[in-house]
Amino acid sequence: MDFLNHHYSFQVKLLLSLIAVFSVAFIVFFILTFLKRFKRIKKNELKANYQNQIDTLLFELLFNQNVSVNKIALKFKNEIVPTKLIKKITLKSINALHRNYTGDLKKRIELFYIESELVNYSLEKLNSLNWAKVIEGIRDISNLKYQPAYEIILSKLKHSKTIVQKEAFIGVILLKGLDELIKNKDNQLYLDDWTQSNILYVIKRDQMTLPDNIEELFKSKNKTIILLGARILHYFQANHYLHLIENYLIQNPNSTIKPKLDSIINQLKNIHQ
């Protein structure tokens, strides 16, 4: 009987312990959920408030050419007093504006990025141990064409994370154009279709031009770069370079990228017709 009592006592203790643990866990998740929600509501209110101030400032930057960029940047630094959140919101806004405008307005945004010292915030990210932050930095700097950071971004091609290497690859193309792709043609980075679609996207968005020495790309030992080269020719509808793809296939008849290259050849031929 003692034996059974002992077991019963153990079962009850176990149940009581589990009830206590689960109850505490429930309270913790409950508090965390509502805390997160309230924090988000507060953050959104704050964001909306900051966004108004930033929009006013950026409106002045774009449409009041009488005011110098330096003066607006000073206003940003002294009157708005940029916190981390403000810097994030401003970067998001200027990135969006930079995509939408061309010419002088684009240049003013780029200058504001430097004068407001937002560029330093992006440069700091490049040294982060968190790879996601590094990507964020590369993206801001390359989108906003901060040329002095070229060497640092180039060095990220040797980052331990492949995802950062790919971003750096796109970053240097954004900074220096398609010549940079040719310069890095022997890089052994595996450019998957997703990365290639991103490269084609920036070529299109930034209205890059086809380099004269594009044939150099087809001397690459990296077959993903060959495929990218073919896709670039397709994008520019450069069927006068069709022979570059055809020659590659003659030399590499069993290449794994053959079906994709064949498809591009067909599409280029159709353009010709």
């Binding site: 009850v12 589990l18 009830i19 993206r139």
Partner: protein
Amino acid sequence: MTGIHWLDIAIHAFNYFILVFAISVMVSYLFLAVISAFALKAYHKKNRFVNYNALLALPDAPSVSLIAPAYNEGKTIIENVKSLLSINYNNFDVIVVNDGSKDDSIPILIDAFELEITNEIFSPQIETKEVKAIYRSKNPSYSKLVVVDKFNGGKADALNTGINISTKPYVVCIDVDCIMDKDVLLKLAKPFLEKSEKRIIATGGVVRIANSCIIKSGKLIKVNAPDNWVARIQVLEYLRAFLLGRMAWSKLDGLLLISGAFGMFDREIVIESGGYNTKTVGEDMELIVRMRRYMIDNNREYAVQYIPDPLCWTEAPESYEILRKQRSRWTRGTMETLWLHKKMMLNPKYKTIGLLSYPYWLMYEYLAPLIECFGLLVTILFICLGVLNWHFFGLLILMVYIFSVMFSMLAIYTEEATFRRYTTLSDLRKLVFIAHLEAIIFHPFTVYAAIRGNWEKIKGNKGWGEMTRKGFDKTNK
């Protein structure tokens, strides 16, 4: 204590059995939840900067056929098809397969989309019921639309017909009445573009409940927690299953189910492995298990991917009768799939799916309701005999109840920390409130439905059961 030694020992043994089973279920849920949390965090970190529109720049983006089987969907089919045609992607077509509808679906489609019969010849690679006609539109605006009219053969047969008709390398199998995110194909296609050594054979996404949500012109405008309690409880169920369950199974490479409402497949592998099985009501789960088994049996490297973004919104049953039919069918589908692939059980050749996923599904998805029912019957017997230890019983029920509420709260927290689709405080309160009732009013019902599923299987019921839907147009003006 009864004073009868052998009876006391039997009661203790029974108590231990129930306790150990309950704790093992809870530990497995928590284990999966922890893995999901890490996987979700990694997913968000990796995808927070992704510009899905970049994919549109790729001239040879994966070609996809959206296959939507339709049976008596005449009332809503125009809006549903228009919604599918407006998806943001550059390389897709929509194949609507009318599975011998008894209503006027075909005349409605012909009229709305200016369809005409084509003389297209296709070679069916999967056996299906006879195709009556294939229609295409005269209007170039609807050039992406193909409508297939066929004799009734069930959902699996209709999907197989769509797979036969498709000329694209990838197929997305959906329910025609689901509301899709406009970027659904961009998000589903991404894993196929990132492939390296392993061939991606399928990608699944999260299905969410659309009841009480605001939907206009086939697009989700605002997410609300459902007003109906039955539907609202299913929101919690789906959150737990998709965010805390399947995400983990995907991470463990043991995902056995991609929802029938929404999944993208490598067409070649689907055909090689025989297409959807028309003899089971769990054709979605059966296909994934068979495709995985096919790849392993043929020593081919493969992967099944899972995307935790809420991309597909569906209407959940709001009445207990419809829900009972749905859950009974799910039970029969699970039974049939597990039986068809019993060879995989604890078979090291099948790695995670043989050693972990299969036993888990058998134990905690299929057998759990039966064990619960058995426990309940023994408890009733103990009450009748006057030997029930009410103290132990009360504590056990309390522990299970608190775990259930806590786990739902964890799912709500995960949603709040990740996708945050329920934006109002009122929605959050509604979900937390219903989490307290679920274990009392809903769970016993699902156990009952699972038992009915077993009974129907024994009786030889092979049907789907009538699945009447209320329709989004009636809930949202």
